[in-house]
């Protein structure tokens, strides 16, 4: 009986122990995930009671503020959607809400970025080359703020693509901040892209990756350039994908030739058109001149004093030529080549043969015609015909600019005749070294001979214009008479 009582007591103890272990396990075993999500939801609901309402703001000591609003839907769709708020915002656990003071939004965001590093280790972040520059900044003592690129409560998995509503918005997530691209030679440029400039640019409807080929929300290849110039030259190559006709012209231009011989400072597409604020320079004629001025400062100074430059710069005259009207915008030739020099009369005639433009200023449109009918113009026009069959003649031929000047063209009206004559003699002597003061008179200064101008030339011309037809008519009359008589005799 005693033995039976002892066995019953041991069994009861065993059952008690099993119950204790079961309850212990129940109390201290990990919670199932469904239960955790439910708790997180419950927890987050508590936070969103306030933070889910628009208008809530966090105000800083410097008076700045940021919105404390969290979009519940965006948060739930984000990669952190299954997290409790307090998993990041640890200080707010157990429904506590400490009153924290920050001097500025910047300081706050730095502090917030530190939270990310609790989960995202440095090694995992460095596996993305896009973060390289940020780590360099950080090691140099600069603050790195994750939320500059990754939206705080709407962070989306990078590999999933479509991280933003538009490519531009996605790229600007990082490039709206003043990050830097550092080159091997120590130079650096800002990677900041002004969104407003893009919206104003000619490429406002072009996506970032349309130009920055190979870059996307999924891929951001790492490129290293020796210098800023090497980067800009490389960037200009992008343009040819869409503007191949322009690129082909540029590739035959003097600027491209200079680059080919190592003059890397020669301008490329983006030097003239700009990078992101790309525009058609032709819209603002003054800006064209100013762009060229960047490198050709001395020529700009000369041009600004000329009749054309003065009208453009001081009167915003739209009729006068800018640099590209003569040199062209893309296929600009070496101005010292005869190929360029010999087409100068064609350039000038674009305006000076245009009756509408010349009519505004009371200028004659006969100037080009009178030039082409004279020795130099006639020879040049024939050189052009020959050039279609063989190379240009090496013999230089005077064109408009040889007498009027190139960038320093002055107005002929009101100028001192003697000054013009003296200047003309100097210019004649460039080729005709022994020319005397009489020599420039051989050129009729674009005047059609008349009783007023070049009277002797006019009278001689008139004599022949009357005498020649009369003589031919007389000869024909006598021949016809002779034939008639011969027929009668027969």
């Amino acid at each position: 009986m005693e033995r039976l009582i002892t066995e019953r007591g041991g069994l009861r103890a065993l059952v008690w122990m099993i119950w204790v272990v079961f309850i212990f396990c129940l109390l201290f075993s990990p919670r199932p995930s469904g239960s955790q999500t439910a708790d997180a939801f419950e927890d987050n609901e508590y936070c969103l009671e306030c933070h889910g309402k628009k208008g809530l703001e966090k105000i800083f000591s410097d008076g700045d503020s940021i919105s404390a609003y969290v979009n519940p839907m965006a948060y739930n769709r984000s990669v952190h959607g299954s997290f409790r708020c307090t998993e990041c915002h640890k200080e707010f656990a157990d429904r506590r809400h400490p009153d924290r003071v920050f001097s500025s939004s910047f300081q706050y965001r730095i502090k917030a970025s530190m939270l990310c590093r609790d989960c995202h280790s440095e090694e995992s972040l460095k596996s993305r080359v896009i973060h390289d520059d940020l780590f360099k900044k950080e090691s140099a003592g600069e603050a790195v703020i994750c939320t500059n690129c990754h939206i705080a409560h709407a962070t989306v998995q990078i590999a999933s693509g479509n991280v933003s509503t538009s490519e531009e918005k996605y790229c600007l997530g990082c490039h709206s901040h003043d990050n830097q691209m550092v080159f091997k030679n120590g130079e650096f440029i800002s990677l900041l892209v002004n969104a407003a400039e893009i919206r104003e640019s000619a490429h406002r409807n072009v996506g970032c990756s349309d130009c920055h080929f190979g870059y996307s929300s999924e891929d951001h290849p790492r490129r290293r350039f020796g210098s800023e110039r090497a980067y800009r030259l490389s960037s200009s190559e992008i343009c040819r994908r869409c503007h191949f006709n322009k690129y082909a012209k540029v590739s035959e231009s003097i600027h491209y030739s200079l680059i080919n011989v190592g003059r890397l400072d020669a301008p490329t597409c983006i030097d003239c058109h700009g990078g992101h604020p790309v525009s058609s320079p032709g819209r603002d004629r003054l800006s064209v001149v100013n762009k060229c001025k960047t490198c050709h400062d001395d020529i700009f100074n000369t041009y600004s004093l000329s009749v054309h430059g003065d009208a453009l710069i001081n009167m915003n005259n739209k009729d006068v030529p800018t640099c590209i009207d003569c040199h062209s915008s893309h296929s600009m030739k070496d101005p010292y080549l005869s190929e360029f020099h010999n087409y100068i009369p064609d350039m000038c005639s674009n305006c000076h043969s245009n009756e509408i433009i010349m009519g505004k200023y009371g200028l004659s449109t006969e100037v080009v015609k009178s030039y082409l009918s004279d020795f130099h113009g006639l020879t040049l026009s024939l050189y052009k015909v020959e050039a279609q069959k063989r190379n240009w003649s090496d013999k230089p031929m005077a064109v408009c600019t040889d007498c009027h000047g190139t960038h320093d063209i002055i107005s002929m009206s009101g100028a001192d005749l003697q000054v013009i004559k003296d200047n003309l003699l100097k210019r004649c002597r460039t080729c005709h070294r022994d020319a005397t003061e009489n020599f420039p008179e051989a050129w009729l200064s674009h005047h059609k001979p008349s009783l007023r101008f070049s009277t002797f030339v006019f009278l001689v011309d008139k004599f022949y214009s009357i005498m020649l037809p009369l003589m031919v008519a007389g000869m024909l009359f006598l021949i016809l008479l002779q034939i008639w008589r011969h027929l009668v005799n027969r």
Partner: protein, 245 residues
């Protein structure tokens, strides 16, 4: 008077070898100068441009024109010197001089061609038409030589003369060229090629001989003078570059 029998036709000597060679050289120079000159005047024509390209370009065309011009100067100067020397020292008759009779002959022939007279004028060695062509070509040719030199050397020439001489020279030179070209193309070619009396070609300047029948019609006074000498069987006289007699 030298005579030649070919078939039933009797020929009379009209030009000696010197004149034949001089005329051939003149033809060659005329062709070269007219071609290389007129293509410059009418440079807009496609034919002109083709010729310019074919001759090696405008610089080559001008070069050829200048060389031919140089030969033309030599030919003209020697002609004048030979004529003056012959008339003054060798007592050649100045048969190319324009006389009052030439004016009368011209008026006579106009009336004849109009049917007012029955017979044409009786001409001597050279008709008034030949004299007209000769003097026009000689005088205009000299004028073209000077204006051509002005255009060829404008810097040198304007050291002494006003620069306006250059455009004036250009007008004179080009219009003179047209004048001579039309004179040759219309008058001279008609008179010696298309004229029914000589058709298909008056070959006397190339062969040196002219048909006696043609001589009787065109130069009766010359024939009369020759036959009036009364020595039809006389041997051919020594070279007389001017008259060929």
């Amino acid at each position: 008077m030298s005579r030649l029998l070919s078939g039933n036709e009797e020929y009379v000597r009209r030009f000696n070898l010197y004149r034949i060679i001089e005329h051939i050289l003149l033809i060659m120079l005329f062709v070269v100068l007219a071609t290389t000159g007129l293509v410059q005047k009418f440079h807009d024509l496609s034919l002109s441009r083709s010729i310019i390209i074919g001759l090696g370009g405008i610089d080559s065309v001008r070069h050829i024109h200048h060389i031919a011009g140089g030969f033309f100067v030599v030919l003209t100067v020697q002609h004048i010197l030979v004529v003056f020397t012959g008339i003054i020292f060798c007592k050649w008759p100045p048969s190319m001089l324009v006389t009052y009779k030439d004016v009368l002959d011209a008026l006579h022939n106009v009336r004849y061609y109009m049917g007012l007279l029955d017979s044409p004028a009786m001409c001597g060695r050279y008709t008034y038409k030949e004299k007209f062509v000769y003097w026009l070509i000689l005088l205009v040719g000299i004028q073209m030589i000077f204006t051509g030199l002005f255009l060829w050397f404008p810097v040198g020439m304007t050291k002494y003369i006003s620069g306006q001489i250059i455009p004036v020279s250009k007008i004179i030179h080009t219009n003179d060229a047209m004048l001579i070209f039309l004179l040759i193309a219309v008058w001279h070619i008609y008179d010696n090629v298309l004229n029914p009396e000589v058709f298909p070609l008056n070959k006397s300047i190339f062969t040196g001989y002219i048909k006696k029948r043609r001589m009787e019609e065109g130069y009766p006074l010359e024939l009369k003078e020759l036959t009036g000498a009364g020595n039809e069987e006389a041997p051919e006289p020594g070279p007389d570059p001017e008259t060929g007699r």
